[in-house]
Symmetry: D2
Subunit: 367 residues, 4 copies
C-alpha cells in the first residue's frame, strides 16, 4: 500500500501527474456537513499552480468533481469521492526520464520499487500534483473543524533563509492565524514575503531552487484529544505530513530548539486564566503526552528545495547502468513552499479530524 | 487506542510505571528466528536505569520473561509475548501528583483524556519506562535485520548544546555505526561525551535538566523499500518515533538544514560505484519519495529536557482548579538522551522491519 | 467507515446507485500485471443487469474507466482507480422512499445511522449496484491469481429450493470449476438451471422474489496460506463476503452440516498422493486452523430473497412516525443469486489475494 | 499477523497451550469502567475445562492476573493486560505429534505456515485454550455493554442432532436470554440438555466426538449501529467468530433458511409499538444493511465435532512424508459446543463494543 491513510477519516488517494485524473475517496465523513463548495474551491486555488512566479507555468483548473457522498448540499455519511481530471499535460517532456534518475527525485527508487512498471510521466504518483486531492480532503476537514470552532492556519515561516514573523505561541488569535491565507504571498510580514519572492526569483534566474519551512497552528482544539504512545497527535500528524513530497522534517512546539534548553526553560508553567487551565508559555506546542493541552497546537515542517532544476546535473541511466549528465526541462516550481502552505494546513486538519473522530466523534457533529 | 502499532510487525504495549508489570505482544515475528536472549539483555541494559549519573537512581533489572512465541530457541511465528515485572516502585512519591499538573508532563492532559481514572503513579502509561518493552521489540527487530545484513546504530549527537561528531552520510561503515553502543557514554567522540556528562551533572546540581538530539542510521537496507505518500519510510519511522516520550522533532538527511539550501546543493548526484548505483552525497538521508535508495538511512530525533525537575515550579491543581507551587521529588534522569539512544535504534529497527515485512518478507527470511 | 477493506490489497469503494458514478480505488496491486481489460469486461458483464429475465430491467453498460495505476498495458504498482458512470437512473421511482422503510431494506437503519442525510435514491450506497466496483476489483484479483495457477469459480447451488449439483470436494477440476461462468445460467446442471429460472419467473409473476445459495471454490491455492485466530482464511473471506448485500450466512466445507456429524466422519484422513500430502475427503473445505491445506477451498453463501417486491407491504413512515402500506415500483431482480455468482467469486478472489500479499507476496509476482 | 483484532477495542492475544501462559492486551477500553472481577471469574469458569463430563479432564484455574489498565477498581483507559499462567500441562502426550498430522487439526497446515518452528505442544497457538483470553476480553466487553443496557446471551442450540428451543426472534426477553448461562448445561430446555449430554457421552464411549450449533442474541442494542459494506455488524462479528477454533459457519437471522423463502415471507414488516419503530417478525436477525434495527440481533454458529478422537485414524508423517495410523491420547472434549457457548458470547460482545466505540463511543460511557 501507499496512499491510504486514516482510522476514522480514511483517505484513499489515486492518480498520476499525467494520467486520466487524480482523486480521493474519503470514508468516514460524518453525515450532515453542509459542505461549501465555493470555500473548497478557494482553498484548492491556494495550492493550484500558476498563481505567481514562484510556481510552475503549468495551468490546471483543479476543479474537483464530487462523485459520491454529497447530496442536496450535505455530506451523506457514506464515502465522499472526488475526481480532478488532468488537463495540461506535456508528457513528451518526460520521455528521457524513463531511465534517467533525476537527482533528488524518486525516479530511481520508484523504478526499483515497482520493477520499472511505474508511470513516470510527470513523476507519476510521486508528483506534487497528488497534493491536490489531499487538499480537497483537507478542505472538507477544515469545514468540519470550523463548525466546532477549531481553526487551522499556516504561513511560509522561512524561505531561502528569510524568516517571517512566527506565530505567537500563547496569544495567537484567529485573525492572525488566518491572515496569511488571504494574502497573495502567505506570510504574516509582507516585507518578508517580498524578500522571499525576490530570493525565489534569484534562484530561478540561475536555474536553481530554494527550500523553506511552513509553520502551522491549530486554534480551538479542546484539551484531551490524542493518546499516549503511538496514537499521539504528533505521531498522527507526522505520519500524514511526511506524505507531502519534499518534506524532510517536522517539529512540534520548540522542537529541535527544545533540545538546547534546560527543563526550567522548556517546561510551560500551568496557570488559571479566566477560569481555564492554560500555560504561560507554550514550548510544548499544545501537546503533552500526545494529547492536546488546550493551548495552540504549533508545528513546523521543513521542505527541501525543489529537486527539478534546469542546471546540468550528474546522474545515471538506471536501465543501462551508465553515468550521464541531465538537464531537466519541463515546468517546475523554483520553490514548493508557497504552494505547500495550504497542503500542510490540509494534512494537519485531516489528522486532527481523524483523531477526534476516533475518540470523540460527537465533538464534530455539533452544529 | 494508543499503544498498538504496525501493519505486519504489530506491537501491542501495555503497563504502567508502578503497576504489576509492563510488556509487549509482537504479532508477526517471522518463524525460525534464533533469538539470542543474551543479546536482547545486552541491548535492554543500555536503556535500563541506574547505569550512570546521567540517569535516575531507580534500579530495575528489566529482565523480560518470554511468555509465548519462542520455543526450542526459535521464534514460532505466532505472537511473541514478553513481560517485565516492576520491582523498585516508590509510589508514595506520587501521591501529591494525582491532581497536580507537573509542567511539561502529561498529568493534566491525561486527566482530561481519561476522566481522572488514569493510574498516575510514576506517570502510569505515559512513563518513559514503557520504552522498555519497545526496546524488547526493537531487540527482536535488530536480530531479524542483522540476518540480512541490515544494521542499526545511534549516538547522542547533541546534549546541552555540545555536539558529537556526526555520522558520515555517505561513507558510514558498520564499525563506526555500532561503536557508540559499545561505549559507557554513547558518542563517537569520547571527549564530547565527557563534556556532555559534565553538562548533565551541572544541570542536575542546580535541580535542572537538559535535552538533546539522537542521530540514528541504518546500513545495508537495499534500495526499493518503502512507498510513496503515506507508507513512506519517513512516515512509518516518524509515526513510531513520536511514541517515545519527550520527542519533539524528527528530520531525515539534511532535514531542517535542507530548507536553507538550494536545489543544486541539496540534490545528491547519482553515480555508479563498484557496479552499484549510489549517490556522491546523501542530503536525502537515503530516502527518496519514501523509498530507500540504498544509501545509509539517516535521521535525527530531538528530545526535550526532562520535565521532572526538583526546582519549585508554578502550576495548578486541576481537581481543585487552583494555582500552586510544586517541587517534584522522586528519582528522575536529568537527561533522557543517553538512555534514549537504544530506544531510537529500537523504534527505527521496528519501523524498518514492518516496512520490509509489508512489502518483501522474503528479505528477512533468508538465513 | 464502511467501504474500505483490506490489509495489503486495499479497496476503497464509493458511489451511490443514482449518483454521478460508482468506483473503487485499489491500493496494493502488484506492479507488472498485464491486466486484460477484455477479460475484466467479460467478468463484469456476468454481474451487469439486464442479461435475462431473472434480473432487473435497468440497463447499465458498467464500463469501468481506469483512472490511474495502469500504464502501457501493465499495472504500475500505485493505486488502481476505476470509475463507472451511472447512466440509466429513474430517481423519481424513489421519491416516496425518503421516509418509507422498505421491509428487508436498509432505509430505516440507514436513516438512523446517517441522521437522514443519506442519498436514498435507488438505495444509495446500500444498493447492490455497489457490487460492480467490487467485481472490478475481483476481476483484477482473479487475473493476479491466475498467473500463479490459482482459479476461482462459483455457481448457483440452490435457488428457490432447487439444488444444482455440488462441486466435488476432493476431485474438483478446473473445467468443472469454470463451467458455470460460461453458461447463460450459472449452474453445473443445465436442467437445474432451467428449473431455477422457472421458479424465479413464477415468483416474479406473483410480485414476489426468491433467495438461494452460491457455492464457490478455489483451486490451486498452495498449503500454508492464512493464519490462526483472526487472520484465518475464513475470517478474511467472511469479513468481505458479508459486504455483499443480501448475504445472511456463510459456511466453509461441510459447514452447518458438520455440526451434525461425528468426528470420525468429519475428520479428513490425510494421505499421500503423487508425492503430495492431501486428504481423502474434504469436510474441512480446504482450511484447517485458518490456513489452506492444499485441498480445494469450498464455501457456500446464503442470499435472502430480494426484499424489493411489488406486493403491498406493511411498513412505517419513519419521519412522520406512522404506519402505512407500501407498494414498491421500480425495477428489481426477483432473485439476486444469479448476478451474485460472480460477485462471490470476486469477493473470494480479493480475500485470497489479500491473504497472499500479506504473507507471501512473491507468490503472486511470478510470471 | 494472526491474533490481533479490532479497530477501537483492539485485542492482541498471545500464548500457547503448553507454554508459560496465555493472555491478552486490550487497547481501547474506555476509562472508568468499574470492572467486577468476580463477574469476570464467573464468566470465565463457564468456559474453563473440567466442569462436567462433556469436557476435557484437564484442570486449569484460568485465573487471569491483570497486569495493567486497572487501578483502584476502575479501568484506566490505557491498555488492559491480562495473563493466565498454564498449569496442568502434559506435554509428553504430544511428543509424537510434532510430525504427525492429526486429521481435522492444524498440525500440517501450521507446519507449512511456520516452517516447522511452531510450538505444537497441545496445539500451541491453535489450541482452543486460546479462547480463555478471548473470554477475558469478552467479560470486559459484556460489562461495558451492560452499563448501557445491552445484554448478550447464548445457548447450545443443537448438539449431535438434538435441538434446544430456539430464542424467540421478536419477543426474546432478558430472563430467557440469560437463563442458559445460569444452568450447568447451557440450554433453554433442560430435557434437551440432558439428551445432548447423553449423546456426547455415547460418542465419548466409542472414542468419538460430536458437533453442534450455538445460538447467540443481543438485546438492547439501539438502532443505527454498524455500517454498509465492510463494516457491517455481520462482517465484524463474523471476522471475530471465525477466530474460535472449530467454527465452520455463521448465519444471521433466518440465515441459510432465508435462502429457501420468498421475499413476502422473509421481509419483516415494520410497525410502531409503544411509539417505537420495530418489526413484527425478525428474519433479518436485527441487522439490515449491516446496521442494527433495534430488534434482537440473532446469529447461529456451527461447530464441527472435536477432531481429537481416540479411534485409530489414517494420516501422514509430514516430516518423513509417509502414511501412518494415529491414535490420539491426551485429554480432549468429546464436544466443544458446551464450553463454546460463553466464547461465542464473548466474541459477539467484543464485536459489538468495537462497532459502538468506532461510531458512537459516548453510548458506552454513560453510567
Amino acid at each position: 500500500m501507499s496512499s491510504s491513510w486514516g482510522k476514522s477519516f480514511h483517505l484513499s488517494i489515486y492518480g498520476e501527474s499525467h494520467g486520466a485524473g487524480i482523486g480521493v475517496v474519503i470514508d468516514g465523513v460524518p453525515a450532515g456537513l453542509p459542505l461549501d463548495l465555493e470555500q473548497v474551491a478557494v482553498f484548492m486555488r491556494r495550492r493550484a499552480p500558476g498563481q505567481n512566479r514562484a510556481s510552475t507555468a503549468r495551468k490546471e483548473a483543479d476543479q474537483p468533481e464530487i462523485l459520491s457522498g454529497f447530496h442536496n448540499g450535505y455530506t451523506t455519511g457514506t464515502p465522499l469521492g472526488a475526481l480532478i481530471r488532468n488537463a495540461d499535460t506535456h508528457s513528451s517532456d518526460y520521455s528521457e526520464l524513463a531511465a534517467t534518475a533525476r537527482p533528488g527525485h524518486a525516479d530511481y527508487t520508484g523504478f526499483v520499487r515497482y520493477g520499472g512498471f511505474g508511470d513516470v510521466r510527470g513523476g507519476g504518483h510521486f508528483s506534487g500534483r497528488l497534493t491536490a486531492p489531499l487538499c480537497f480532503a483537507g478542505a472538507v476537514a477544515i469545514q468540519l473543524l470550523a463548525r466546532s470552532g477549531i481553526l487551522i492556519g499556516a504561513h511560509a515561516a522561512r524561505i531561502a533563509g528569510i524568516a517571517d514573523t512566527a506565530f505567537e505561541p500563547v496569544a495567537l488569535d484567529p485573525q492572525t492565524l488566518l491572515y496569511p491565507a488571504s494574502q497573495p504571498f502567505p506570510t504574516l510580514d509582507e516585507q518578508a514575503g517580498a524578500q522571499m519572492l525576490a530570493a525565489i526569483e534569484s534562484a530561478r534566474m540561475v536555474q536553481d531552487s530554494v527550500g523553506g519551512v511552513v509553520e502551522c497552528a491549530v486554534l480551538g482544539l479542546p484539551a484531551g484529544i490524542g493518546s499516549p504512545m503511538f496514537d499521539g497527535l504528533e505521531n498522527v500528524i507526522a505520519s500524514l505530513v511526511f506524505g507531502i513530497p519534499a518534506v524532510k522534517g517536522i517539529e512540534f512546539g520548540a522542537g529541535f530548539a527544545a533540545a538546547e534548553l534546560r527543563g526550567s526553560q522548556n517546561n510551560d508553567p500551568f496557570c488559571i486564566k479566566d477560569g481555564q487551565i492554560c500555560t504561560t508559555s507554550n514550548y510544548a506546542g499544545g501537546i503533552l503526552g500526545g494529547i492536546s493541552s488546550g493551548m495552540p497546537v504549533l508545528l513546523r515542517v521543513a521542505f527541501k528545495p525543489t529537486p527539478s532544476i534546469a542546471q546540468p546535473q550528474q546522474t545515471v541511466d538506471f536501465r543501462q547502468g551508465c553515468e550521464k549528465t541531465l538537464s531537466i526541462h519541463g515546468r517546475h516550481d523554483p520553490c514548493v513552499v508557497v504552494r505547500a502552505v495550504p497542503v500542510v494546513e490540509a494534512a494537519v486538519a485531516i489528522a486532527v479530524v481523524d483523531a477526534i473522530l476516533s475518540q470523540a466523534p460527537a465533538l464534530l457533529e455539533s452544529q
